[in-house]
């Protein structure tokens, strides 16, 4: 497949000034360093705590049958969900982006929304539908239905930027449509798909609570037992190191699989791909997407509607839903902006200046996904209480916490976009005498804009449902939609809680909608892609 150019500039010419001296993109390095520093904060906390633990205590906690069962449960759940999410995510993305599907924009938004539904609602609604639902298959189903958007959104953004010319060349050389899809299309969107899969796998390793309700226990249960019943942060952190070890293995594996990505070659603007007419496949495809939305979105929303219809029995003082909404929107938007900004240098260094250091920084940026949110939040508590007390429990700290927690999502969005943007265009800009900053703003930024949009949307949606770090770090007296929802559900007041969950879904629709509209505009104009 030599039809692809390497995504690294030939001979590293881009990094040299015209005088020939090698120059590093200092601003990128500084920002990437900041990102790495932020990610390292909770990791340092984890290691400092864990090393206080005695070996005999660890042996008692780790070397027992139950832990083996829990680890096995974590791993088989992660494998099955990742494969299913990949299939659903890529399939749905292809239908939305490459076929003449009716009401495509509506599907594009609806298919992202399950990410914005709190875990508790998903679990609870399924168990209310079928109280007997439990075990492995139930956990696989519930988690797949809520996590596939992590693959769908990056895959869809990447698909929109695949050069139809290369696919047509493959077809003209005698490849069938399936082979073209596997060997040409999928190859171009591989970094996006693998990135999404990485998020699903790592996220599942750290997940706690969502599948508790279907009585499926994973390794995080052992960690939370130490936190909740032993009040033993040391043991909990020591156990969390096991998750770090598994994640390092997963991250190395993905590094080998993802290769270098591929940018398009050739002059001029790529043509938008012709959309496939579904023909007799219309009905089955619509039915399948409809079923996916009904299960992933309809069931939880139905539950919320039922709660609202049944009425509000709460005696809790009703706080203004608008103030909670305002806080959630402001915190999530700020966190999404910061995470996306930090992800740009992390991803672009790893793509454009690939070496050991930049790869390690990029891999490091994924680790927050694999740690329980509580560990990260406690790490920030421990750090800020000692060294930055003025920031402790401030809005800024909470925003930074969200940015750290969801940096991996932003990296996936930006990384695949960087991989698809040809460095040639940047080189052309430089050769025409533009400064690096001006090239970045006028060439690179427009090329990766949809990727940035996807990154922003993923971080925004995930932040808006975050609960654990919010409870620890929010300014005293500040409520978000998630904290209010939690307050009401822990008092059995589901009727009062439901509007807050509905509001979370509603604000998740905003970035999903804006991104979708932007991508449609780009597609209509056909440039610059």
């Amino acid at each position: 497949m030599s039809a692809y150019a390497p995504t690294r500039p030939l001979g590293e010419r881009w990094t040299r000034t015209w005088s020939g001296r090698r120059r590093w993109p200092l601003a990128s390095i500084a920002l990437a360093g900041l990102a790495a520093g932020l990610v390292l904060l909770p990791l340092v906390f984890l290691v400092v705590e864990a090393q206080q633990s005695g070996w005999s205590e660890l042996e008692r906690l780790l070397l027992r049958h139950k832990v083996a069962v829990l680890l096995w449960n974590s791993l088989r759940l992660a494998v099955a969900c990742t494969l299913l999410c990949a299939a659903l995510g890529v399939g749905a993305a292809w239908c939305v982006e490459r076929t003449k599907l009716p009401a495509r924009r509506l599907w594009a938004v609806a298919l992202v929304l399950p990410l914005g539904i709190p875990d508790f609602v998903v679990g609870f609604s399924w168990v209310s539908l079928d109280p007997g639902l439990h075990g492995y298959l139930a956990a696989v189903m519930i988690m797949t239905l809520s996590l596939y958007p992590l693959v769908f959104l990056p895959a869809r953004t990447a698909l929109a930027r695949v050069d139809a010319g290369v696919e047509e060349a493959a077809r003209s050389l005698g490849m069938g449509p399936w082979r073209t899809f596997w060997r040409v299309t999928l190859r171009q969107i591989r970094p996006a798909v693998l990135g999404g899969c990485l998020l699903v796998t790592l996220g599942l390793l750290a997940e706690y609570g969502a599948f508790e309700i279907v009585q499926y226990q994973t390794f995080t249960v052992a960690i939370f037992t130490e936190f909740k019943l032993g009040f033993d942060t040391v043991a909990a952190c020591a156990l969390s190191l096991v998750l770090v070890a598994i994640s390092v293995a997963v991250l190395s594996g993905e590094l080998i699989l993802s290769g270098r990505g591929a940018a398009r070659v050739g002059a001029g603007a790529p043509r938008a791909a012709a959309r496939v007419a579904l023909g007799r496949w219309s009905a089955p495809v619509l039915l399948a997407l409809g079923a996916l939305c009904a299960l992933a979105l309809g069931v939880p929303l139905g539950s919320l509607a039922y709660w609202i219809a049944r009425g509000n029995s709460s005696t809790l003082p009703s706080t203004s839903i608008l103030s909670a909404l305002g806080h959630t929107a402001a915190f999530s938007a700020a966190a999404a902006a910061i995470a996306t900004t930090l992800a740009v240098p992390v991803a672009s260094l790893a793509v454009r200046h690939r070496n050991r250091v930049t790869i390690v920084i990029e891999r490091l940026a994924f680790l927050p996904m694999a740690l329980p949110g509580l560990v990260i939040a406690l790490g920030l508590v421990s750090f800020s209480v000692r060294y930055a007390f003025a920031l402790y429990q401030s809005s800024l700290e909470l925003i930074v916490a969200y940015a750290i927690l969801f940096l991996p999502l932003a990296v996936v969005g930006v990384r695949s976009a960087m991989g698809q943007a040809s460095p040639r265009l940047e080189e052309v800009g430089r050769s025409l005498g533009s400064s690096p900053l001006s090239v970045w703003l006028r060439v690179t930024l427009p090329l990766i804009a949809p990727g940035l949009g996807a990154a922003f949307a993923l971080v925004f949606i995930s932040s808006s449902t975050e609960l654990t770090a919010t409870l620890l770090l929010r300014p005293t007296g500040v409520d978000t939609l998630a904290t209010q929802f939690w307050t009401y559900t822990s008092a059995f007041s589901y009727g009062a809680a439901a509007p807050y969950a509905a509001m979370m879904v509603a604000i998740s629709a905003v970035p999903a909608f804006l991104l979708s509209r932007r991508m449609s505009t780009l597609a209509r104009r056909g440039a610059p892609r």
Binding site: L229, A333, S394
Partner: protein, 339 residues
């Protein structure tokens, strides 16, 4: 992307940052007292409002999961912004006492409630109580089939019928109680039997819900979970009832919700005032009539209508303070693979 969209994008980013910063500005505000609370928010908010009215001391209330708040206080150490920690259960308070993070409670305040409900070392104050019980599905079991002792839950006749939540804070005291009254060997046998009989649920809310909808036939809980379920579901949606163990049984427990002043608090006198308020007649009557269905501990204040008075229920064999921080029970459950 053209210039206009870039401008739009930048505007969105900048305005969200500005919004977030303005949220920074609106928080804080020089409170005299910060209360971390793991107790149910509706009751706590009501108590705080009454306290503010009575004393003109402003209170900042942070509600959260009590174990998480406990871990947070340990991390915060001497810099903790918390002055008072108000919890639903005592093991977390005991754990903080063992780490020497709690200040002594004023003796005059401790004297307001029976001594058996507060810390023997005077480091935390009992505020209200919950009583352990069995919830059972009235369609699946009749009252005559119900066990008199919690130990019977491990009997073969309940195979497949029990639901319980071993990872809940309320379950450790039950195990501790069996260990203290019958010894570790009996407790281990009992837990094994329970394990093979029972479905494990994540929390007591689920236990009550699943017993109510018939998925399990019975389960050990604290009585207030059932009262709250009944309040939410109404009598039409309630297909379950409460059953109490025999007097003196290991299952017959009183769980205490308590409060403590943090050793690091710079506002100790206001904090002591808050604790004194929690056991005052005003506060105890608020607790008694709140939606939380807990028992007030101050003598002479009667519980919500429909609850058997605490004094009328036969006293449990163990006092709440004898239950400690639950670490022995935890180790036993881990050994058996329940956790």
């Amino acid at each position: 992307m053209n210039g206009r969209t870039t401008t739009l994008l930048l505007t969105i980013l900048l305005s969200s940052a500005a919004l977030a910063l303005s949220a920074c500005g609106s928080s804080g505000g020089g409170a005299a007292l910060t209360v971390y609370s793991g107790q149910h928010e509706q009751t706590t908010a009501m108590l705080v409002a009454a306290f503010e009215r009575q004393t003109a001391i402003k209170v900042d209330l942070r509600s959260g999961d009590e174990a998480t708040l406990g871990n947070q206080i340990v991390q915060e150490g001497q810099n903790s912004p918390a002055d008072v920690f108000y919890t639903e259960n005592t093991p977390v308070l005991e754990a903080l006492r063992e780490k020497r993070l709690l200040a002594p409670v004023a003796p005059g305040t401790l004297a307001q409630v029976p001594a058996r409900y507060s810390s023997p070392q005077g480091r935390w104050l009992g505020v209200s109580a919950r009583v352990s019980a069995l919830v059972y599905n009235t369609g699946k079991l009749s009252a005559s089939q119900l066990p008199g002792s919690v130990l019977e839950l491990a009997d073969r006749r309940f195979a497949g019928k029990v639901g319980f939540a071993p990872s809940e804070t309320d379950f450790q005291p039950l195990v501790t109680s069996v260990v203290k009254l019958h010894g570790t060997a009996v407790a281990e046998r009992w837990l094994k039997g329970l394990q093979s009989n029972a479905t494990v649920y994540p929390d007591n809310e689920t236990v009550v819900n699943q017993v109510n909808n018939g998925e399990s036939a019975l389960g050990p809980i604290n009585s207030y979970y059932w009262y709250r379920l009944r309040a939410e579901n109404g009598s039409g949606g309630t297909h379950s009832a409460l059953h109490y163990y025999d007097a003196g049984d290991a299952g017959d427990l009183v769980d205490i919700s308590g409060a403590a002043v943090l050793g690091s608090s710079p506002h100790k006198s206001a904090a002591q005032e808050f604790l004194a308020f929690l056991v005052s007649r005003t506060a105890q009557e608020l607790i008694a009539h709140s939606h939380s269905y807990e028992y007030p501990l101050r003598p002479g204040v009667s519980p919500a209508a429909g609850l058997a008075p605490l004094a009328a229920l036969k006293p449990a064999a163990l006092s709440p303070t004898e239950l400690g921080d639950g670490s022995a029970a935890l180790a036993l459950e881990q050994k058996l693979g329940l956790l």
